[in-house]
Symmetry: C2
Subunit: 638 residues, 2 copies
């Protein structure tokens, strides 16, 4: 069993925040024990935002409460994701009282589960006659998936199998009801998630049937274009098959369409099933969708989903910066998809995107206090307009404490708390290091210890056996570096072998070997593909994996008037109120609003006047942690 112990300042601070602030806060919210204003994630009367009620719903289903179910049909998943988060937290550091809390919830979940394994408080309490009969929107499998992920994680960390048994029982219930056999339902949940979860259950239990069921869900999807329509009572109801990625079987899909979270959850499942079944066609479909997504439909922050309508992709190169969606959950799904692709094909392009999404769109999803969250992560925010323009009702200017649809906050908890799972993949070919996060990795016969900061990294390879160990080690060359140096035991390696973006070190490891890696980490001016209409004449600023942004707090209002110039040089300033990651300071220009504009909206003879100004840029993920104000990623370039 591999053990990873993080020694990274940035991540250890974040993990402490998750344990000390986020997890307790979310527990209070799930129990409705805290006074907060739950916000609708967009202006839509149908969004239930009075309270969470998630624990209460379980109590009702368990027969321990007489109250009313409240919330979405997927409200249970908030609890499951929270449990998964706690499990990962406990992996880093035991905490008996937290574990006791989970055990208590597990008892509740077990009590709520029906005899046949079914478990979904909404359908159990409010619409038992519709179980598995509204798959388009029911999220029953989606909830099952999160239950499974929580159960597997909790079992792996604590060895306790009560929740795992509940999960298996529900998975067996699904197998009972779904499959190619006559009499079973030939369809899949509208919201993917069960597919990737069943692979985890397979790996945990070694039961092949779970892998097969996952494969079945990926196969049956999009087979019968009328499946969802037929399930509805209402023949006039409209089914948007693109939204559901059910317009054709996943294996035939070549572009990123529909609801962004659903797509990347599906693709993660596809890549996992492809890996464990050796299904080349499924992997090829993953590659096609991946290529379309990251080459034509992804924001520079790793955000995906260009529109609030259906929280969805739109078309190639359509990436508006102020009306986009870029849901936190979608970026989380994207890093999982990337991670699963890395298993199949250790190509640094996947790790580059994983890192981009993680350090920007994912981390932007939480405030520095751990108790406020973004659902939507804009690349441009103008608070006055977010308020005044109803087309931007989904673009929040600050992070609310919770949402009517609360998918993102516990998703952050369970994802970031297992950050170590994104550092490596290990395969027959060797051990691949994707992310440079200080830690110690301990396998059965080897220890890898990574230390460093900025672009200077030292990796100590220690063997635990007498025998030398022959295994290639691969180290990713990040796309953002402008040059690198490699040394082994302080001796420079001039022309290391490079495979698909990774430095390959193949040798017989014995005793202690010290590997030195130096990656140049300049402040980069990122330009975007000329077909992205809104970014013409603008640049984004990046250093290492971090995208930077302008905030009103540092630069005053009207950020759209600020220009970088070819002479702008940024100084890197460490240790600011925003934490570990440096801020950038430089000189630029600002378009002046001259008197010519008094009471005039259009002008025939106005020459632009500029003044020199200091420009401060902060890491994108850390925006909106100070005063309410504007923010902007893409900055005018003179």
């Amino acid at each position: 069993m591999v053990q990873i112990k993080l020694t990274d300042n940035f991540w250890n601070q974040t993990l402490k925040l998750i344990k000390n602030e986020m997890i307790p806060f979310q527990w209070q919210v799930l129990n409705d024990n805290i006074e907060i204003e739950i916000q609708k994630e967009r202006d839509d009367e149908l969004i239930p935002s009075e309270k969470s009620n998630a624990i209460e719903n379980l109590k009702i289903a368990a027969g321990l409460s007489e109250k009313e179910h409240y919330g979405w049909w997927f409200q249970d998943s908030d609890v499951y994701k929270w449990i998964e988060g706690v499990a990962h937290v406990l992996r880093h550091e035991p905490d008996p009282s937290l574990e006791e809390l989970v055990d208590h919830v597990v008892d509740l979940i077990q009590l709520a589960q029906e005899d046949d394994g079914y478990l979904n408080t909404y359908y159990q309490i409010k619409a038992p006659h519709l179980k598995f009969k509204r798959l388009m929107e029911s999220h029953e499998h989606y909830c099952a998936g999160h239950l499974i992920e929580a159960a597997v994680a909790y079992f792996e960390v604590t060895g306790k199998d009560k929740l795992l048994k509940v999960a298996c029982k529900f998975a067996d219930c699904l197998e009972e009801n779904f499959g190619p056999e006559e009499g079973k339902i030939h369809g899949a949940d509208g919201h993917q998630e069960i597919e990737l979860a069943l692979v985890k259950l397979y790996l945990c239990t070694n039961e092949a049937k779970y892998l097969q069921l996952s494969h079945y869900f990926l196969t049956v999807r999009g087979q019968d274009p009328n499946f969802y329509q037929k399930q509805l009572d209402d023949p006039a109801a409209k089914v948007n098959l693109k939204y559901l990625q059910a317009y054709q079987p996943p294996v035939e899909q070549t572009t990123a369409e529909g609801h962004a979270v659903r797509l990347v959850y599906m693709c993660t499942g596809m890549a996992e099933v492809a890996y464990y079944t050796g299904n080349e066609k499924l992997l090829e479909a993953c590659r096609n969708i991946w290529n379309n997504m990251v080459q034509k439909r992804m924001y520079v922050t790793g955000g995906i989903g260009s529109t609030v309508h259906g929280e969805a992709f739109t078309g190639d190169y359509d990436l508006p910066n102020d009306t986009m969606y870029c849901e936190t959950c979608a970026a989380i799904g994207l890093i999982n998809f990337a991670n699963s692709m890395l298993k199949n094909d250790p190509d640094s392009q996947y790790a580059d995107v994983m890192e981009r999404a993680l350090y920007n769109n994912v981390m932007s999803g939480m405030a520095l206090d751990g108790k406020h969250y973004f659902y939507v992560n804009p690349l441009e925010s103008h608070p006055e307009t977010n308020e005044a323009n109803p087309g931007k009702s989904h673009v929040k200017s600050t992070r609310p404490p919770w949402f009517g649809c609360a998918c993102c906050p516990p998703n952050l908890a369970r994802t970031i708390s297992q950050i170590e799972n994104y550092i490596y993949t290990q395969s027959k070919q060797g051990i691949y290091t994707h992310l440079y996060i200080n830690h110690t990795w301990e396998g059965s016969n080897m220890i890898l210890q990574q230390e460093g900061n900025g672009g200077n990294i030292t990796i100590k390879v220690k063997t635990k056996t007498q025998e030398p160990i022959l295994i290639p080690l691969y180290f990713r060359i990040p796309s953002w570096t402008s040059g690198y140096r490699l040394s082994v035991n302080e001796e420079e390696v001039k022309f290391p072998e490079v495979q698909k973006g990774y430095i390959k070190l193949e040798k017989k490891w014995q005793g202690l070997v010290t590997i030195g890696l130096h990656f140049e980490m300049p402040v980069l001016q990122v330009t975007s593909h000329p077909l992205i209409r809104g970014n013409i004449g603008k640049v984004a600023i990046q250093r290492g994996p971090f995208i930077y942004c302008l905030e009103e707090e540092d630069n005053g209002p009207n950020l759209h008037l600020i220009y970088l110039t070819p002479n702008t040089k940024f100084e890197v300033k460490l240790n600011t109120e925003l934490g570990e990651v440096p801020v950038l300071e430089g000189m630029g220009e600002r378009l002046v609003i001259s008197k010519a504009w008094n009471q005039q909206l259009y002008h025939y003879h106005a020459d632009p006047v500029f003044e020199r100004v200091k420009i401060v840029m902060v890491p994108y993920y850390a925006w909106a942690n100070r005063e309410l104000g504007e923010m902007r990623v893409w900055v005018n370039m003179k």
Copy 2:
């Protein structure tokens, strides 16, 4: 009685189109006698777009048909606006068969009217118990207003008073039901229009009660914030008082809020009532709203309404070019508001905006064939994205033949067919010429004959009496001119008196006097207020009152890659396939999509490469009359 005879090429061609194509086409549509695809103006299942049924609805209400009512509760207004259009057409040239057609419809309308004067086919047929009980959205007064406008126009042109009697009877019914007296309803229609129409009825009938009723509707609005809520059965229903301009009494409003068409229709009524009652406070409110609108919330095309959500204004300087609304009806309302302000205060700023909206957003509402119309008039159109991005479902790439909500097409017919009513205002102070459109104006004792083209205008003043006539003549100095010259009887007037943007010529007119006006008409680079975020680094091109745009047909795809440079000089090319108004040709640059962008969305080291290209710009109003393609008003400036 003043007679105006147009002699203008541009407008006479347009009027011919309206008479020969638009009016007959719309008649076919209103009778459902033509195979066309009626489009929803935006993606909304509730929009009825199967057919018009407008004439049929009248037949049903008249007891001449047993069919079902179809369409909006304001479907009748399509017919009224069409009649008004015909009336104006008949003013230019009699047409007995067309007049007979109208007489037939008038009979139908009279038959449909109830004994108490009430007239609205939707409520009569489908919901008689709700008459005047759903004023928030019922449009009953709105339809009454259009009935009145049609009746007044038809009476003035033909002398036939049957429709006028119907209109008066309905107006009397309103007076019976609405007013400050106890027992009457103390509220106004959610959609303004009756206010301005009642002033026309007052002027036509000389009945002061109609002016008073108009004033009452403007006074009661916004008095009781719960009025609309109380009218609804549903306590949970939400009333958006800003949308309805009912958040406070109109006289207290200072900004342009809510549904754009409603606002400018209301303001037109306010300015008219202010003029005829001498109400200074009402006029002051008009000025405040006007200033906010044209100084902070108006597009360079004279378009208003920044969002599809509520077809509404948003906030100051929030003028996105690709998601805006800029409804044709709103621009029509704006020119009427401007025209009514000119009555009160002959200041050229009103005429400048009137001209801007007329020659750009209004005229863009119709195709060159007279049979296709825009509801929404974008400043930037990218057909692929209009399709792929549901947030742009209202942005059509080409003009459809008709809409589920068909307010705009007949509104264009009735507005453009009375273009002569926007040329002048006449008051005690003198005769003001606002628009330079060739024509002959004949009053009881004077003839003004205007001839010219481009910026060269000759005005012949002829007196019909022996006595000299002392009346000041005022001629607007257009905001777009870079210089002007004035001559009287070929003698240059060096320093003419100028009042509020008008050249004042005060003399005793006798016999024939020839006035020469020369306005320089350069190709102008328009810049927008720096607070309009989307226009930074861009210019719009204008010549005379016409805004120009790039179209894909002339410039290839990806118009956002085109740059004008400080050296770009435009040549004016006459007589093209797009008609009277010249196109512009010049040289500019185009950002090249280099090979560096193969399979890459973001780049750390891509230097922009430009190539020199020919640039063609066409008048904005004439866009989308050729092949489907992109369009763009605001062009990058190097």
